[in-house]
Assembly symmetry: C2
Homo-oligomer: 159 residues x 2
């Protein structure tokens, strides 16, 4: 659990990055970085070189991994900010690969439309378990989406 | 392109593994292996250690990557067997994470229900482009699915 008492958003993002790199070998292989966090959206970035496919553009598995981790991290930071200790799992996801990516890339995760952290934490307090849907996008330089992910996560309060 | 003239299925799987490991850094990081191929299904395997998450079970991004590569490889081997030179891309995928995985794992890819390579290659011959849907499963030791992927791929004949 990240210690968030009094931490700034940028310190939180840095702490999440350290935790992901320490715990998840594939995050290290991807050279993942947490590049922005504002409490409502989280951006994880990755350089192209360790994440290419046979064609020299971004590997779909790297995009899936980065978007999944961005969604997971968005919930993780909110959970930690409330000093809760939870296991968070991805349950399912739907991914669209819309355009090849030929440069370094980043995934921006936000709560899905109609989702709120208030509802999520109310359920977590009531039942020790809660679900949250997240929307994530990998934008191209012109702002169009190169890839999107819609995923559901579930969190369990550790006993 | 893998040279498949006269090759056995196991030689084809080995050639695919070599190509994936040479071209895709994340496949190397995952220590991916092609463990079985029979012309109609392809199995890719990965050890747990380089593919763990924060909880010590299989990382969702590793599962997504392995299943996506199994689907991609299934089409790649069929394309190569016909001495065609294509770029193959994943277009979209739907993934379900059904149970945590605490050991080495493998992803088995097959054409989705109703899909046939005959239709795929007819379209590829007619238009230089064809789509194919693939179903992939990561089984637990008891045969139940720990994760599934349904994905659409598109192949373009290189010009």
């Amino acid at each position: 659990m990240i210690n968030v008492v009094g931490a700034t958003f940028s310190a939180l993002a840095a702490a999440l990055e350290s935790e992901l790199l320490a715990d998840i070998p594939l995050a290290r292989a991807m050279a993942l970085k947490a590049s922005a966090y504002d409490g409502d959206s989280l951006t994880l970035a990755a350089p192209l070189a360790p994440n290419v496919n046979d064609k020299g553009c971004a590997f779909g598995g790297s995009l899936a991994s980065l978007m999944t981790l961005a969604g997971w991290g968005l919930i993780k930071l909110a959970v930690d900010a409330r000093a809760l200790d939870c296991d968070i799992y991805v349950q399912d996801s739907s991914i669209r690969y819309l355009a090849p990516i030929w440069q370094d890339f980043a995934a921006v995760a936000r709560p899905a439309a109609g989702e709120s952290f208030d509802d999520f934490f109310a359920a977590l307090a009531a039942r020790g378990k809660a679900r949250m849907s997240v929307h994530c996008v990998v934008p191209l330089a012109d702002g169009a989406a190169a890839a999107t992910l819609d995923a559901r996560f579930v969190a369990f309060v550790k006993r």
